[in-house]
Symmetry: D2
DNA sequence: TTTT
DNA sequence: TTTT
């Protein structure tokens, strides 16, 4: 009842073609970075741009959508939650942290440019008809069970690699 | 994929004890108004408060939580979506509109004051153990199917009454 | 310190060319409606679209941006706050209400189609160089004073008309 | 016009008394961590809590409010933007990153417990009447110039320290 | 009244 | 590393 809130909203441009992985468990994972640029005026009244880079992650059906429709330069809107993963650096033995945003909802604001070749060459770009990319449940607040999140509990493979 | 976004976020105080109804279909409906107050300075530099009132609606499990834990004066945080219902005024024959926010997520920020009597006297206030109020599904982005929204499709009873 | 929150976020399509007014005080006002469409599945598993219409208002510099760059069909992202205006219906003497969203931040997601003629024919479309539309301060959280809101206090002309 | 969006919303509990610094430039900086906890069900249907920790930063007037009214355990609502700072680790020479959320708006949801002693013992806790803590500008979208953000441009001192 |  |  007294729930907390962890909500992130970004509208920006994708920095490079998303990287798609499939974990041993079958979970599909999409990783990419997103730029948000803000314009501001300095004390002299001159305009400057400042770009912030964000690391994004999506799982399963959302990862499929990203694999099929998102590429370098795409403008997207996402809603997600912030999470920080940690791991121990193998060479130094130090603990490292990576903060990322897990995508829970995504809207694509650019037409997909089919003339550009994705670098993962997975043959799934465009309106794929494969089972995987044909997921339902990509609508927020829909009556469809959101199994993606269920899968992350006890998911071991996702956590033991150096991120990005 | 190119989904739209309709999102409302309020943090404010409940104006009166919520009104709880059960539709013929069994759908539970909670209605109440919420005040959000903002402070601003006028041209003279003096502070003023301006209060805005919002009409909120919740269905099923969220309505149960509201029935059991929300009362006049409660401070709550909600996330929802804006929707406008219309009906024809029976006396004048004119079309009328009421804009409300359908609650999709709620956080209670006040302790429940059990010394105050709710006016609906439904015996469900406090930490109820009834089946209805013991709903799951009240967690945002959870793996639990969100049946509340499914029920609203083709729901006839909800639409044919003068609101509030 | 214990501030309330009244925040609305929409991503959708503009229903018609915005209506632009200038109040006697000089305040510029843009009015238009915005559609947000959500897709959902009914009990049969079939997809349906449900479109919600929202009434939007923008003042001064934001109204200038809308006059110059927004038209029927534009896809936009807005952040704003919900407010309900009331007036007394002159014929029936009854109190009427209109809930609208005051735009505080806007992002344009469609290129402006200069081949279509705006119906307000104000000669301000495109990259206008007039003083009015050349406002700064259209960036949220910027160091620029946001005079638009200041002007709304004690603004009489904005309130005495039947809306939309 | 085609602005990006970088927005973070948290509702959670403060992990420890905030650390307050004053930079050589006079900028006040508040640093603290915030926990957001979500409840979810695993495949067995059992409930678990997962807590995420977030690093928060506030500047100037918002830092003053935090210094005076926020302590370990406080429940707060914040709106801000995500930013990642980087520095070179002095011992290893490696580049390090820390993602934090810069607070742009804050609402305090707990009464301040004056019986607990803040560990920074700055004598400013409680309803301070000092000039610094009596800032205006703490209202979002207000007509007050938001000088805090202006100060961050070209701010050198803030960037050359190992964070947190 | 929009859009895909 | 994106975009206008």
């Amino acid at each position: 009842m007294s729930k907390d809130v962890n909500k992130v909203i970004f509208l920006g441009n994708v920095g490079q073609d998303p990287e798609i992985k499939v974990l041993p468990s079958g979970t599909r994972v999409a990783n990419f970075s997103l730029a948000t640029t803000e314009r501001f005026r300095d004390e002299m009244g001159e305009y400057h741009d400042r770009t912030e880079w964000h690391y994004l992650v999506a799982l399963n059906k959302r990862a499929d959508v990203i694999r099929d429709y998102v590429q370098k330069g795409s403008k997207i809107f996402i809603e997600g939650k912030q999470q920080t993963r940690s791991w121990t650096d193998k060479s130094s033995g130090e603990k490292r942290y990576r903060t990322e945003v897990l995508i829970l909802d995504i809207s694509l604001l650019s037409p997909f440019d089919s003339s550009r070749n994705g670098q993962n060459g997975n043959g799934h770009r465009g309106h794929s008809t494969s089972t995987q990319s044909n997921g339902n449940g990509e609508f927020n607040h829909s009556p469809v069970p959101q199994e993606a999140m269920a899968n992350t509990y006890g998911e071991p493979a996702y956590d033991d690699e150096i991120p990005f």
